[in-house]
């Protein structure tokens, strides 16, 4: 099923104008500071410029009877929405499941969603990528990655991991 979204520039311009107004509101509480260049000065300059260019775009879209429209298929919306949701769930799960478990789960689900069907390839890729990144960041580069308070991955993995000091609890 296809849907056409019309007047995207007009709608976009209105959103930009709202943002410009929002900046003014949000900067109301900021102290003025010395002379005329307090913390609110610069954001307000940006807000005025955003408002100006938004009006320019709005005027142009109205004057040119805006031909700007986008045709989108419901399948595309579903796919993009699903991938974005998967990433969001992955981010949410990281502090709870820890890097290795959350990443392996995310990779399996995302690969299946992307069309992969070979159990062996999915399994080896997901586990391989997770462990490779874990060792690379935590042990080799000493960059901390999330560790689960419930799943003791660190204890399960071979001794090499104990060389790393960057595990985040």
């Amino acid at each position: 099923m296809k849907a056409e979204i019309r007047h995207t520039d007009t709608v976009g311009s209105i959103l930009w104008l709202l943002l410009a107004g929002g900046i003014f509101l949000a900067s109301e509480d900021l102290p003025v500071g010395t002379a005329e260049t307090g913390p609110a000065f610069y954001p307000r300059v940006i807000a005025v410029l955003i408002g100006g260019f938004a009006l320019l775009q709005l005027g142009r879209s109205v004057y040119e009877a805006e031909a700007n429209a986008h045709t989108i298929r419901s399948g595309q919306v579903k796919t993009v929405g699903a991938v974005a949701a998967l990433v969001a769930i992955y981010v949410l799960s990281l502090p709870w499941l820890g890097f290795v478990t959350a990443t392996t789960t995310f990779l399996v689900v995302c690969m299946v969603y992307s069309g992969a069907r070979s159990v062996v390839r999915i399994g080896t890729s997901a586990v391989g990528v997770s462990l490779l990144l874990y060792y690379l960041f935590v042990v080799f580069l000493r960059v901390p990655l999330p560790e689960s308070p419930f799943i003791p991955v660190r204890a399960i993995l071979p001794g090499l991991i104990h060389a790393g000091h960057g595990v985040l609890y």
Binding site: F41, P43, F53, V83, A84, L133, P144
Partner: protein, 489 residues
Amino acid sequence: MLAGFFEGLSLVFQPLALSLIVLGVTIGIVMGSIPGMTATMTVAVLVSLTFGMNPTEGMMLLLGVYGGALYAGSIPAILIRTPGTPSAAATIFDGFPLSEQGSAGRAIGVATVASFVGGVVSVVLITFLSPQIATVALSMGSPEYFAIAFFGLTIIASISGDSVAKGMLSGLLGMLIATVGLDPTLGQPRFTFGVPELSAGIEFIAVMIGLFGLAEGLDRYREGIGSLDVKQDVAGITPSLSDLKNIRNVTLGSSVAGTLIGAIPGAGGDIAAFVTYNEAKRWVTDATPAFGEGNVKGVAAAESGNNSSTAGALVPTLTLGIPGDSVTAILIGALLVHGIQPGPGLFEKEPGLVFSIFIGFFVVYVVILLLGLLGAHLWVRVINFPPKYLWPSILVFCVVGAFALRASVLDMWVMVAAGVIGFLLRMDEYPLAPMVLGLILGPIAEQNLRRSLELSNGSWDIIYTSPVAVAILLLAGVSLVTPVVLEHR
């Protein structure tokens, strides 16, 4: 300068630094060979690997990825008429006809040599040019710096694609995002909304990973991530002497032109490649076969043009702190993570690092020549790598990269938000490169404007009584008005 050069040599010619260059080039070639994997995206998702390294090692890896990916974009352009990176779009014109004639190996060989010459010539040029520019820039004060940052911001108009208004709005959004955190002069929290973590500001790298990694991924899924199937094998990759003689002048000329184009902030490899290709077409009047029908000079002009722009982009990046293109913007971010501020002061404070970047980039192109000629059969196979396994892994890299910045969950959400916003903006044809310029130049412009006004007790005289600042501001005016005039012609 000489001491810095030798220090740079000693930093690059270490086993680890050289290994990182080879690793970076290999990763870059692999990723660049896959259509849709741009150099910017590859550098953005891999930047997190450098956080645990020292600045020189990190730069060697990223420069290797940058050069490798930009070179390898030519391989799918020649074989399947799909540029691996936008910079390789002009390579299609003569590369693909050569491939259709059964000379894919010859085209890849010429592209490899031209990329090498382009890269090497531009590195040599910038090694001599950059210190002079930095010396001039060092004598500047806050008003002049504000003017330079303002000039950089006006470049937004010239890289805005079809709509100047959309480009400016994208750039202003970047500037707005950069205002979150502590006010640079008074230290007051600004737009933190009671979230303590926001006091440190929004991590620029997290935004970049979102804009160029996640947004790209979402766009790929929107288009459908089907697999490619390239069965063509390549032969005769090493260019013949007659081909080398044939492309000599075009390659050298395009290399110099590409370096100069790359040095213009915002003008990336794609612009350089199109300009050098068109100039070659204009200058070579007796081309046989004609340009567009499989002339190796066309491949050489495009490839030397886009690869020479990479080093050219380092000129404003290192001398003024203004990114030459999206990738150098990420390099600035990577240096900032290590507490190093690119700009004219860098040549005084870290001469070894600056020259290690130049020397390292030279070595990158030597490695590209070797790996390009020796491994072409392998890189051709990489095009077939199934995206259904690749893209989920890249999404993981995006998340890990954002987290690795400072072990903050907030940065992961910033990355996700930037990715979704970037995807929506791309859908409505907003260019994302101006947002990057806004993110980097916004704070520089604010700090220097406010410092100038403080010095003059709030009088704007300090800006327009400086001849240098006025000259730069006039240039800024020209760069702002020209695209608007051209748009309405």
